[in-house]
Symmetry: C2
């Protein structure tokens, strides 16, 4: 039997050094912001049997991912992630080793991304449910939104795409050292690149639902269309173009800007197309056999049980 | 079938006017803080069949409560609640009327407490799961914690206690107009009083788990003990002293201070005892038949299925 009081004590011991004016264990946490900055807020749900399964996903990957995906969202605004709240509901008979693994993964992500856990809530439930809310900061008026892309902007993507989708198909049988499986389990957010792109970027989003869906958000919000060169889309080794176009959870950055360098901090920044005028908000895919409209599909093609959209 | 994309569209339409620099629909929200203030953060989970049942709890009460309980936590720091994120996981076959009712209740609470919803996340799950994270602000160094109570301070409670516990026992059969049932379903946070008490208060907490548990947090965190006069504890009409001492979810404020007025904004502020020296962190209950130690119990006595602790 794993009691919630024990869970709270464990989290509090583990994350007591948050640097907050008031941290875990009071009604609310009190944190500082640098002068002239705006608070940036987001949250991300991870639900057992929707986002992960206890059988196939090590608990440290669930903990790591719950932090990493929020860091990615904050970074995609050109902001700096700083603090978070973890809310967890767990079954009363959950093994303590699952919790320990989860906290190991969350702690590792917090260290890697320089984020502190300052509070949260806990409860019991039939399935494991994790919601992490994160705060960051950005200079006033400097947040990079999805709605600023303009005709003539180039479209860039960092790293390569399709690896997480490939990894999810190999999860049952592959070794934990497989780079594609690691991408699925321990995503590497590009928040530091997002911060560097912010002064040039006209629009930015992280590729969480898949390129076809996430670029769709940019063209729709910006009131433009896009042309993508099929052959220039960087595919993860072993992943085909379909996974690169529609597989989600890569947490690479998709950026529109007049010009970006071809590499930043050792990460390739690949030009895959350009923004064009057109209120139809379409994405034209240009390949050897001509042009076709790229319809939004997303990674539910690879994992039919998975979630369809995020707020 | 209720899709998550439809849920996101509905929330976005409903709460589009948040006053945030960037609101719902981007990777993260961007919000402003008054100069010289600190951000205050908290979150609260509501899990179907743990905190509420679809059969007995109207969905607008779940929406209202998800906001109100966070407002209460922010207020118990002496801070002003301003923005929140709503994360929801719902079954795919949930009736749209449940969602509409939930959003009606959340909107009503946001209006009442002057809070804006600026983002969140959504997913599917077998049971309804709601996590609201809230941000507020407080002047630097002015947050009222649980650890400042000193021997000689008086102990005060706002309003009366035990009503929510009483309401939870009547929920199956009583009318929705019953004040005790309304207390359970639509709690009224005392955040505006919390703000007013802040300059005088040495410690403050909202009574969410029950007086015996929540006063226990103050004496433990402050390294003191307490004496409570049994006859001075204000009981909700119809609720006995046991419900007032151990029933939770009243969301009244429990405050220690040298002196507070007997009434603020029409709400009674009742002196129920005093802080005494004593590292044993005990609560002594003084009644007609002498003194006894008040052991922490909490409202699980009234609803055995309910949660035991919060972070």
């Amino acid at each position: 039997m794993y009691s919630e009081a024990a869970l709270v004590r464990k989290i509090r011991r583990r994350f007591s050094e948050s640097g907050a004016e008031v941290g875990i264990g009071d009604d609310a946490a009190v944190v500082d912001l640098p002068d002239g900055c705006r608070a940036v807020l987001c949250s991300y749900l991870l639900v057992e049997n929707t986002h992960f399964e206890r059988r196939t996903h090590p608990s440290d990957s669930v903990g790591f991912k719950s932090i990493a995906v929020n860091v990615s969202d904050i970074g995609a605004m050109g902001a700096v992630p700083t603090r978070c709240l973890i809310s967890m509901a767990v079954p009363a008979d959950l093994e303590e080793s699952w919790i320990d693994g989860f906290l190991d993964g969350a702690a590792e992500a917090c260290r890697s991304f320089n984020v502190a856990i300052v509070g949260g809530d806990s409860s019991s439930s039939e399935r494991i449910f994790v919601d992490v809310s994160m705060m960051g900061h950005v200079e006033a008026g400097r947040a990079v939104r999805r709605n600023g892309a303009r005709a003539g902007d180039r479209i860039y993507v960092t790293g390569c795409l399709g690896g997480a989708a490939l990894g999810s198909t190999r999860l049952e049988s592959g070794p934990r050292t497989d780079p594609a499986i690691r991408r699925h389990l321990y995503p590497e957010p590009r928040h530091r690149l997002g911060r560097q792109f912010a002064p040039q970027a006209t629009a930015m989003i992280d590729v969480s639902d898949g390129l076809s869906i996430d670029l769709g958000h940019i063209v729709t919000e910006s009131g433009v269309s896009a042309r993508i060169e099929r052959d220039s889309v960087p595919c993860h080794p072993g992943a085909g173009i379909e996974m690169a176009l529609h597989g989600g959870e890569d947490y690479e950055l998709l950026v529109t800007a007049p010009d970006l360098p071809a590499e930043v901090d050792g990460v390739p920044v690949v030009r895959i197309g350009e923004i064009i005028a057109g209120e139809s908000n379409r994405i034209v895919l240009v390949g050897d056999s001509g042009e076709a409209i790229l319809e939004p599909r997303g990674w539910q093609h690879f994992r039919p049980d998975a979630r369809q959209a995020s707020a």
